[in-house]
Symmetry: C2
Subunit: 362 residues, 2 copies
DNA sequence: TTCCATGTTGATAACGTTCTCTCCCATCAG
DNA sequence: CTGATGGGAGAGAACGTTATCAACATGGAA
């Protein structure tokens, strides 16, 4: 066993300072009223003994842990690591700590993580729910007293704040941008898992926005609506997924897209890893971007302007999304009973060099 | 105030089950001996009431929090987010949680983070110390009973385990690779902060490896030794830094390098963000890689094979470094008194297309 | 039958804080 | 001189667990 050296406690400090435990506690904790003289002697004694408050004991009595549980898919994904950075900075300023859990989009892991966080009595949770998350589970958590804020995604029918972007509008504008460049055959590479993928395949992409809380669904709907508004009939075979959000998935999806009889002249990958896959596939097919295919990606990753060609993207203020999520959570922790707010931050279309006019036929 | 609904505790469960509190506690906690019948009734009662153990109270008495503090420069940096992923996975398997703190290479933030983690009574710390960290501070933490494992970097004279790579050897081999391709004028782009940068500027780069625990120092030494072994005199003006680890810093450093009278024909950026900067600078200068300049980077980021040209890099097993660090920490937490181990994992030189023969003169 | 080992149980003491309450005493207005 | 007021201090409870210890069954061996 680790023979943790005897750690001084408040009674020790009190003894050293020659005051009662209660007085020492007040002096150290900065609450109640203590004479200047006593305060001084306690401070001195604490320094001599090297006293450090025991946060666990404090949490025990105050009922607050000053810890926030953050539940997301994968911290290695740049989107999430930026979000966590935003959360962590805001948390630090508020005296809160961030505890991390990765779900890998696995509902079981998500539930397990949330359960343990609740047992740990975190002050609140920031969750990026996986596709299948049902609202009743999280509702139970909230009703039981742990505030929850959703990040990036939403859950229909759940009374919880959420912070993200307007996915429909972001995709709508990206698509309009491609339309304006002259493209009419525009493909979408999404990461949507295969089990819900079927939902995408309704004629005319009707109802994709109803895919539960999925950013992918909302973005696909935005894409569809931009096409419709331009008088172009959405094609089901232009929306493809390799089965997940890994680069290989996007490579496969892109190749599938480009193997069509009438391949698209522009591609819209729905996140940054997928963009990487699209670029790789284009390269592997011996095509040139933007000469042969134009690309507009999502998320302004660190490499987007260094890649050739520099990638035109829809940039999300990811750190700020994280920071805002934490702010909302804090105000819930402080007892705000306001009705749920769904906050959407502005996206920016960052024009670089991956979009050109469509390759003229034949 | 958040009116947290009355949360059931062990006495509540005991009452419901009609047993003593002690028995209920044993049944729920899975310790001591309880009859099958009692166990059953307690489980039933717990289910009825929706009992959830209070981890804070448990920590209070056991003295263990099952939480690991992870202190690193910046979670947004891909190296660290991969390391955290490795740590988190291993931690999950061991029933531990990960609490995060970013230092931004700021010694004050690092100390503050460690202090608060100790007050939180974390079971142990994984620290990637900033350049200026003095050993006495961490030594105090360890002696006081909180085990510490260093990640990626070391601190000379500190009795703590560390996990990372053999930086000297990795840089040595990367340099040898460039030498083998025919390069004799090889530049290094490092992120070393300006205040220690001076140390790099000794004639012949003598003693760079003594820069306190710096990966940059060790890598530069490996580079130097490869040159010396090939009979090439290291040039002080070939080792440059833009003052930090941001991309702009590397852009500036690279331009400085290429503006020399005899510019290098190959560049060795010492981390992945710096590689991005080097590539960007090469591009901005209207040069082509590898035709005009060859590049070997550090760390196999997700974009390295998608960039043009695909980047040849020294790959570190980053997730594994994190996982091993956690393993070492766990064994210390379990009381291992073994003398400190410095574990170095193998790196791999991943050959892609960013290295070619040097451009023949004029 | 007696005795000891073993398994089960309950009462109660920790753990290190913060919170509640009471008491003391000095001050000051009437 | 009296009574109200309030700052300062101390004793002890409370938080929800786990740990300790004694008490009590039960059963098999002597």
């Amino acid at each position: 066993m680790t023979a943790r050296r005897e750690i001084p406690t408040i009674p020790d400090v009190a003894r050293e300072a020659g005051v009662s435990m209660a007085t020492a506690a007040r002096a150290l904790g900065g609450y109640g009223s203590v004479s200047a003289a006593a305060k001084e002697r306690v401070a001195q004694a604490a320094k001599t003994l090297g006293y450090r408050p025991n946060v666990v004991a404090r949490s025990m009595i105050t009922g607050r842990t000053n810890a926030i549980g953050v539940v997301l898919a994968d911290i290695e994904n740049a989107f999430f690591s930026s979000a966590v950075r935003g959360i962590a900075d805001a948390a630090r300023a508020a005296g809160q700590h961030v505890i991390l859990a990765n779900t890998d989009e696995d509902i079981e892991k998500e539930h397990a993580a949330i359960r343990v966080f609740v047992e740990r009595r975190v002050d609140g949770l920031i969750v990026c729910p996986t596709d299948g998350t049902d609202r009743t589970y999280l509702r139970g958590i909230i009703e039981q007293g742990t505030p929850v804020v959703l990040l990036d995604r939403r859950i229909r029918g759940l009374r919880a704040d959420s912070v993200g972007i307007d996915n429909h509008r972001a995709a709508y504008e990206a698509t309009r941008y491609l339309l304006a460049a002259g493209h009419e055959r525009i493909g979408v590479v999404t990461g949507t898992a295969s089990d819900v993928e079927a939902a995408l395949h309704r004629p005319g992409l009707v109802g994709v926005e109803n895919l539960v809380g999925m950013t992918g669904g909302e973005r696909t709907a935005g894409y569809r609506d931009a096409l419709l508004q331009a008088g172009i009939e959405p094609r089901v075979d232009y929306v493809v997924s390799g089965g997940g959000y890994r680069r290989e998935d996007a490579v496969a999806a892109t190749k599938e897209l480009m193997a069509l009889e009438e391949p698209p002249t522009a591609i819209l990958p729905l996140d940054s890893i997928l963009s990487l896959g699209v670029l790789q596939a284009v390269r592997e097919l011996g095509l040139r971007c933007p000469r042969d295919v134009s690309v507009v990606g999502f998320d302004d990753a660190e490499w987007t302007e260094t890649v050739t060609p520099p990638l035109t993207v829809v940039a999300q203020p990811v750190q700020e999304i994280g920071a805002r999520a934490l702010q909302r959570l804090l105000s819930r922790i402080d007892g705000s009973r306001q009705r749920p707010v769904h906050e959407t931050l502005e996206t920016t279309l960052v024009e670089r060099e991956s979009v050109g006019p469509p390759l003229s036929e034949g």
